[in-house]
């Protein structure tokens, strides 16, 4: 009888070990390349941003919506303009819900299992104009034209808020 129970316990141990090995293989690999790419250019030190980026964003959002303070330092729009390219190299759009998890924010959030809800309302990538010759915003006031160098269309200028230029075109 003791022998049988020993064998039983050994079997249980073996099964447990196999299960552990299975778990080990199942841990997802984090894709931190997008998050690390521009860490040095960030508005706050990397360690600070890792811990406190949500606090900065929460404070800034209330200041912006309620008081109309629109500084760029802790603005979500500026995070996106700098850290997210509107499209991948193959031309497909980058969204935070994509399976690839190569969106700057979701690359880390999916790994640690923290839900992202900013982008249910906010744009999760820089604005791409209806005119395909337009690329994306570089910051709040500068824009990047594609290599084709086609003049932007009037509607795009209106969208960009370059109203005076647009009015000049119409008059």
């Amino acid at each position: 009888m003791p022998l049988l129970s020993n064998i039983k316990s050994l079997l249980v141990l073996a099964l447990f070990a196999i299960a552990l090995v299975g778990c080990d293989a199942g841990v997802p690999e984090p894709n931190l390349a997008p998050a690390k790419a521009k860490a040095a250019q960030c508005v706050e030190p990397t360690a600070d941003m890792r811990k406190n980026h949500m606090k900065y964003l929460l404070v800034h959002r209330d200041k912006t919506v309620i008081e109309g303070i629109r500084t760029t330092q802790h603005s979500l729009n500026e995070c996106i303009n700098c850290h997210v390219a509107p499209t991948r190299e193959d031309g497909s759009a980058v969204h935070y819900t994509d399976e690839k998890k190569d969106h700057f924010c979701s690359s880390c959030h999916s790994y640690v299992g923290v839900k992202l809800d900013c982008f249910q309302c906010h744009a999760d990538r820089p604005q791409v104009m209806e005119n395909i010759n337009y690329q994306h915003k570089l910051s709040s006031n500068t824009y990047h034209l594609s290599a084709k160098n086609a003049p932007p269309e009037l509607s795009d200028l209106l969208l960009l808020g370059q109203s005076q230029q647009a009015q000049g075109v119409t008059q």
């Binding site: 200041k63 309620i66 008081e67 109309g68 303070i69 996106i80 820089p126 915003k137 647009a166």
Partner: protein, 246 residues
């Protein structure tokens, strides 16, 4: 009979008023000027010394405000949500045609959030999401909006809409998302930078935008000389959007 006479008298008075308004406004209404909205430093909060307002001359709006609505759609990206039925689409601004049943005289005016001084939508909001900024702009703080839609019921101008579906690729300056209410916010993102609202730029000869609290601003001067009626003035909401030629 006396009722009809009273009506005719009132109507003729109204027509006279419109004609005078149309003539006089030609003198004062010029194209929009950037100086109507002085640029505010980005790190300064808005102040209650300013109250933004808009004066729309309907006689000069040759298209009845269609261009203004289109400019709003482009600026904020509403009106083309892929899964919503037409009656579910957001409508920050719309054109309303008014016809006199007796004479068939009709005119069209653009209607959006009137930016009331005493906004009913703010009174009813259970979370404080529906709010009036210090400078008189009424808007939804979508961060704390729970989508109950009380404000939509309270608004006498039918100015608010509800987003029914999840959206992607919103305009970066105008976040919109499922489960929240939205409406005209006078293009806060533009005003804070010292720019005019998109609809005002689209109708430069028919609209004056500016600070109603500043007696020297063009809009205050225009309102002082020409008047400018509120829609549903009987409600006593003291709207920031005024009309000439109603």
């Amino acid at each position: 009979m006396s009722q009809i006479n009273a009506y005719r008298r009132k109507f003729m008075a109204a027509v006279g008023g419109v004609a005078v308004g149309g003539l006089a406004s030609g003198v004062i209404l010029r194209s929009v000027e950037a100086s109507d909205v002085p640029a505010k430093p980005a790190d300064q909060p808005v102040s209650n010394k300013v109250r933004w307002g808009m004066l729309i001359d309907i006689n000069r709006l040759t298209d009845g405000g269609v261009a203004m609505v289109e400019a709003c759609k482009r600026e904020h990206g509403w009106g083309n949500d892929p899964k919503s039925r037409p009656e579910q689409q957001s409508q920050w601004m719309r054109t309303v045609k008014v016809t006199d049943k007796l004479t068939q005289h009709s005119f069209t005016l653009p209607v959006m959030c009137q930016h009331c001084e005493e906004p009913p939508c703010v009174d009813v909001c259970p979370t404080g999401a529906s709010m009036k900024r210090a400078d008189g702009i009424v808007q939804v703080n979508k961060h704390i909006c729970i989508g109950c839609r009380y404000c939509m019921m309270a608004c006498p101008y039918k100015a608010r809409s509800f987003v029914h579906e999840s959206l992607t690729d919103q305009r970066p300056h105008s976040p919109r998302g499922m489960g929240t209410v939205e409406s005209c916010n006078l293009c806060v993102h533009r005003i804070d930078k010292g720019q005019l609202p998109a609809c005002v730029e689209a109708a430069p000869n028919a609209v004056i935008f500016g600070d109603l609290n500043d007696p020297n601003s063009r809009i205050s001067q225009a309102v002082k000389t020409l008047g400018g009626s509120q829609i549903r003035a009987d409600l006593g909401l003291n709207t920031g959007v005024r009309y000439l030629g109603l």
